[in-house]
Symmetry: C2
Subunit: 420 residues, 2 copies
């Protein structure tokens, strides 16, 4: 912080990135004029085509990141995303004692601990309330309101795009059609892999694990399963089982070990998580003392994300400090034992069920139900086996054995079933 701050002048803010979120941040700062905050610079590539007249004549527009970083701003708001060049800019800002507010989940998931240390060394702060679940105050809620608990489970819907796709499919839409619709509406990128592949959600899960469970994990150790394999028939079977399907991010502390997963999962219709539709996000935190706490709202979108960014700025201007939550390095060292749904597509012939049952029995996995809808073609017959809580690794061995058989039309789809 420079000298002006201590005499209670306004914090001078440089906005890096004038896309949807950046514009919403500028809009809120301009319309609400929160005390103690002054937007002074906006950086964007090809800035000329971004210029708008409503942000005030004093704001300097620039496409020279160095010049903005070397200027007298107090806070850099980074909304470019990605590891680089955003990471380098943030590092330079922190090393010169500036504070940083960012919505960059990837950077915080991979380098958050290091950047927080860097900030503390120079007396600055890095805040990232917008990095997880956009407009829902999960991060401030965790840091300021649940620090006194011991959170041992996180379950949630952390990716709005997947939730939009799956809740539309629940109503009968086709995956490709709804993905195209999401892209048209700006909910999904041209390359949707980050979202539908689960990479976006796992970065957010890693951040929540650090703040809630105080474990510092490498996001790469969480293997996400894509939602692309979910077919309309799965929603039909899920409904028969009293469930729907959502992309679920889940982490658990079991006897000092840490389990984490991201992927499409069956959610009982009686669970609050099933209520989440369209672009909504939801996070359920289970604490040893406080029980379940649920946060829900708009996880993404320009305005909700901007609310989180501006709230972080207001907190900085108020002299509010992050509650230091110490975390320990941890490996994803264990597996949750949860129930599973496995959907097969087979060329029908006698003995298939016996074969599958045998492979599961060999791994000591108990079958809970076998469900088959009538009226499907016998050369591409879908049916579902649900199994009682078991380790994913044991199930994988059983499925690997089954995959050798010639009756499979495609790879079995394996999804966790959340408990009600």
């Amino acid at each position: 912080m420079n000298a002006e701050k201590s005499t209670r002048h306004s914090l001078r803010i440089a906005l890096f990135g004038f896309g949807t979120v950046g514009q919403s941040v500028a809009r809120i700062l301009t319309e609400l004029r929160p005390e103690g905050l002054e937007l002074t610079q906006i950086f964007n590539r090809n800035v000329a085509r971004k210029k708008v007249d409503w942000v005030g004549a004093d704001v300097v527009w620039s496409e020279d990141a160095d010049a903005v970083l070397n200027s007298g701003v107090d806070v850099v708001v980074e909304l470019m995303g990605g590891l680089e060049p955003a990471g380098g800019w943030i590092e330079r800002a922190l090393k010169s004692g500036k504070s940083v507010v960012t919505a960059n989940k990837k950077l915080i998931a991979y380098r958050g601990v290091e950047l927080e240390k860097m900030a503390a060394e120079k007396g600055g702060h890095i805040k990232y309330g917008a990095a997880v679940a956009g407009g829902i105050p999960v991060i401030p809620g965790l840091e300021q309101g649940l620090a006194g608990d011991q959170v041992n489970r996180i379950e949630g819907i952390l990716n709005g795009t997947c939730n939009f796709i799956l809740s539309e499919m629940e109503q009968g839409a086709d995956f490709n059609a709804v993905l195209a619709e999401a892209q048209k509406r700006g909910y999904a990128e041209a390359d949707p892999t980050e979202d539908v592949g689960g990479f976006d959600a796992r970065a957010k899960l890693a951040i929540l694990m650090r703040l809630a469970m105080r474990v510092h994990v490498n996001p790469d150790e969480i293997s996400p399963r894509p939602i692309t394999a979910v077919a309309p028939i799965d929603f039909s079977y899920a409904r028969d089982l009293g469930c729907t399907i959502r992309q679920i991010s889940r982490a658990e502390c079991v006897g000092g070990h840490v389990a984490a997963s991201v992927g499409p999962s069956l959610v009982p219709l009686t669970s609050p998580i099933a209520w989440s539709r369209a672009m909504m996000n939801m996070v359920m935190l289970s604490g040893r003392f406080g029980g379940d706490v649920i946060f829900s709202g708009h996880g993404a979108g320009g305005s909700p994300t901007a609310v989180a960014v501006v709230s972080d700025l207001i907190a900085l201007a108020s002299g509010s400090r992050r509650v230091e939550i110490a975390s320990e390095r941890a490996a994803i060292g264990t597996e949750s034992e949860v129930a599973h749904y496995i959907r097969f597509r087979v060329k029908d012939r006698p003995g298939i069920v016996a074969d599958i049952a045998g492979a599961l029995a060999k791994e000591k996995i108990n079958i809970n139900a076998i469900v088959q809808k009538p009226g499907c073609p016998s050369d591409d017959l879908p049916f579902v086996v649900t199994v009682e809580p078991c380790k994913a690794s044991a199930l994988k061995r059983a499925l690997d054995a089954i995959k050798q058989c010639d009756y499979l039309v495609e790879e079995p789809l394996d999804m966790q079933i959340l408990s009600a």
Copy 2:
């Protein structure tokens, strides 16, 4: 703060009140040993009968409030409740530069602004995350995560006792039986007026209005309606209308004016608020920029409330500051225009419906539906009229006129209907 704090010694904590919440606070401090916090004194009346051996031998037990306040503690944790003597103790603590953490919703609703000013003058802090919705971090979420938005509506379930009673009645239980059960379980006081009368909820609503809508209202201006008038037949009619019944606290900013109400209301089954069962609390905040944000969890009980208290202590120890949210004095100056459910009990005779319809028409209130279940005795016939959104004052005038009629067996029950 005394000199020790600045040299980063632990904050010395005095606990005022060793009831359910106080014991849970001591339990968490003893088991989790959060860095920077040291429980040094426990005050309670007749302290001898409260003593436990698990809090550590160094802790001083006392029934002399003055001695504890005059000692070198840094933070007073006030868990006695009520305006006095708690208010006087808190005042003395703040005036001597100590900080205060309290769960006292009544005191904060009536005197929060004054006490915050008092704290600021001496460099101390007053934090009250536990005052609303116990274990759910609504207050830190609002202060730290939604300060960048403009919240224009609050709807929620702020009293666990009423929610327990009404969600049990939804399942067929009788009011008096379930109230007795709540008292047995310690959910309700011997005199349940604060809870069932809506006084507890209105204090919490006033606190939320200040932090979320930045209006400083006198809680006495919110006239709560008790849940005692709700009968089993109302749940039956509510179900026919696609709704259930909950005690709802609601506030709204309409064109610069403030409306607020507390009372039993019809909640559409499709609304997230209808999900709240048993002792759960739920708060839905609607922001101009961020849309709806929902918080849900255990609103009361020793451990959840203690989590909020300990989280406030951890925030104090981290040097985190409250985000100053300036509020303006405001009168409850307007009414929300919402739909209403009115249940009559009448001695049946021709012309009643015409009579009621006429009284409503005179106040320009549109009837939406008239519902009457078959099979009820004609000398105590319940039936329901729902009306389109209208002002409560106009409806009251219409009902006052209807009350003059000799066919009423009891006063009509008027409940708001939340929109879906």
